[in-house]
Symmetry: D2
Subunit: 275 residues, 4 copies
């Protein structure tokens, strides 16, 4: 593989990506949490405040939703972006949200602190180039059947366009196993650490598709060296417009955060609220 180019490096020449007050790739595990989709103002502000109080570092939520079927709920679009910005004002949590179309990058970048490229767009090369020309950090999810090499080369599209604030996100790959929604490739964490200087996080919600597995797999990622987590939390998963079965309740999220602290410490890092 070609050598990757980098920006701000720590003492081991690793990239640290700065999103507002949050560092990804530093000693603290960056926990990004929130609902799969922004559904309403009430829902979003409530969950954002709760997450802030529970120790989340960033707010996630989809305004543009890629859906397998054209007849599924596809997000609130710009209205959703406005609500995300409002939630940031309220809580101070930086916002990460997906952009699906190169023509929308400017719009989304006007509201979000970090631009997410979803799995289905990992090799949407014109979109990669476009976010590469902006000065916003990018969260690049691994494609459903992307090899490590393809994933890192997709990141290279963004770096080559001039933007070196890229965080990689493992989210499970597609295999024959049907018990889980996808198969989390836990080895991708140390592999990215070895092959690249970019930070890497895990999305255990999409990775497993089952809320009961989110906590053990999130803990596994931290033990394996992940720099952060992307977790779906919904005030009422049963009524979520998408991805309810894989969303944590605030109670379960609180328990996970409290368990992450000692675990992070055991691998020389920190996690959760610090008082």
């Amino acid at each position: 593989m070609k050598a990757l180019k980098f920006a701000k490096l720590d003492s081991d020449n690793r990239t640290i990506v700065q999103v507002g007050p949050v560092q990804i790739g530093g000693p603290k595990i960056a926990v990004m949490a929130g609902p799969c989709a922004v559904e309403s103002r009430e829902q979003l502000l409530l969950i954002a405040s709760t997450l802030k109080s529970l120790g989340a570092d960033m707010l996630r939520g989809g305004a543009f939703k890629p859906r397998t079927s054209p007849y599924s709920f596809r997000g609130l679009a710009e209205d959703g972006l406005k609500l995300l910005a409002e939630a940031r004002e309220l809580t101070g949590l930086p916002v990460v949200t997906e952009v699906m179309d190169a023509r929308d990058v400017e719009l989304v970048a006007g509201y979000a602190d970090m631009l997410q490229i979803g799995s289905r767009n990992m090799q949407n090369f014109t979109l990669l180039h476009e976010v590469g020309t902006y000065r916003k950090p990018v969260l690049l999810k691994r494609g459903l059947s992307a090899t490590l090499e393809e994933w890192l080369l997709a990141a290279e599209y963004i770096l080559a366009a001039g933007n070196n604030q890229v965080v990689l996100c493992e989210r499970g790959i597609r295999t024959f196993e049907t018990w889980t929604r996808n198969t989390v490739d836990i080895s991708a964490i140390p592999a990215v650490k070895e092959l690249s200087h970019l930070p890497v996080i895990l999305d255990p919600s999409h990775g497993t598709g089952r809320w009961k597995m989110v906590s053990p797999v999130a803990k596994a990622a931290v033990a394996a060296g992940a720099d952060g987590l992307l977790i779906e939390v919904h005030p009422d998963p049963e009524y979520a417009l998408s991805d309810g079965p894989q969303s944590l309740t605030p109670e379960n999220f609180a328990r996970l955060i409290s368990e992450l602290g000692p675990l992070a410490q055991a691998v020389g890092r920190t996690a959760g609220a610090q008082f």
Copy 2:
């Protein structure tokens, strides 16, 4: 799965897609052939004339090339489109070529007779919607790890936007096997015939990644009921800028075409030049 909507149907209520003088989904196997990428005027006009004389029905060739690495040859862009249009004038062969960006659909549609959506963009939903708003036939390749359901629902994005001239193209899926570039899912041909009324063709070049396997797998597809083939042919595969190892020489293409005739007849269809 939801029911699909259709256009012009034959007596079994199957869609026939018309691309210039060529029918896809009718009794004749539609053979689309040409180089992976348009490399030069000389190369393209030469191969196009040769293909016409050998009995190809349509000309394929990439002007915008999706490449895993940003440092690979990415195509001649509009210059490539102009050459494709010139090759059509010369030979009468309708042209199919890939569009990768929703912003380029109008440009590509101005030159091409059929718009190809590549595997990596099968779930680029904004691009699907965009080609759905044009009155050009679309060739929708299956994603590298797309289920049949996801593939048909991607087609549904195009249909739902108003364009019912869609042809599906199986091109191999990603599995553990490394001897072939991908694993051709031959069952996808009868599956699409059962689940949908859209025509379905096979790309044995990407499907196998090895020119020696292109002919036997192309014949398998016809025997299984495919409505057409998409085949890479290059005058000098060794010097191709991309996909040389999977490209047929004109001689091998001629042999394949001559073998397809009796085979098509054995399953009640026709193939190749008819005199």
Copy 3:
């Protein structure tokens, strides 16, 4: 890969395996058909006579059945073998049946004309060695996730033990696709032809898991160069003790056989009854 060793070769140095009066690897497509499991004397003798009259070349049927769950029907064991031998007496069709345990090879070889090694035992190396020490032809099914190299090296275990009468059987590999029971790797047919001198056949019944797909995929295999087919036929698939959904009725089998004739001819071979 290491070079493979061979026995009786045709003019292109390809192995032809002789099973009673049947040649596998010669000009005629060898069609092996029968129920998944031997269920009763009445069922077996009836279906065997029917298959003989419809042009099948060999009788298949399981006496020892490998089952995922220990609580499923696991076959009639030696009673099943005796019924298979009786069916052979009645019809003249040579019998192929599975052996699962190295300790049973002598027993099974006493009744059967060809020993089948199932997918789950493809790397049961002691069983491979054992059948390699007998002078009975072996049908070696590809493992559910075996690479071509592993499959050919499994055959090498049998050859290395002294038995060169081996036929390879592609039966679908395990992928993410769930519409079909497995994914038939059609490229395996030409790959085996290129990498080995052993004959290769296809099992479209296990390969697809759906009877409607058996015929188109069987035809694809013949077009791709397969030397034979292994097909489940049951007089009453709805009441089969196993694999009913993928079994052809005698009527559908008759139709397939009648369609194979012209197709085989189109690729320079023959198939079905010859009068």
Copy 4:
């Protein structure tokens, strides 16, 4: 899935498997370590003493080796078993080793403390039944492409034969990714905990195929709730007769053990030597 049957249960009704003085499924992480294959007396006794002093709980080592090619080193057979027994006498470490043939179960059970069923034999049903009739604990590795359901049902074959001392071992599944030898399915750990009462351990050596990844993935498994680890350690990996690239040196194993302690504590368990 059918309900599983169990033996000695702890307070949460979970099975604890006793192997000599070692408990698997209790509060302590059981670390089984040793060379892939028993190569010589000197090698084995040296590494066994070293492992004992570093805090390993059990000794692993292959006497019968399943090899893809019949021409690879296939183990020392009974001589290897004798050396394993000698190493146990010397160190007090219970021994786990693979049995590949139902006819060898009595032989292997005469020397080993725990019988390992390898991945390629996970659905060798007659072997499963045979080890089910002995009173020795069994380590059942997951097949290369076995679903969770198939794996648990394979365990059920052993339980149904009367032996309830079964430990499950995740060892990576086969996917399209080629950077790692296999893809560790980390979710299998919490899945087994939810679906079954049997203990579950991880083999990060085969799971990754790269020694640099063994430690991070081993730690991930402990964080996810695994009851033990199976790790290849070789005094001189470069000269190992098999699996050198994935073997830890004693130094790296010592570092891993020292890191496991605090990690295990963070999830309420213990690991390594206790003084």
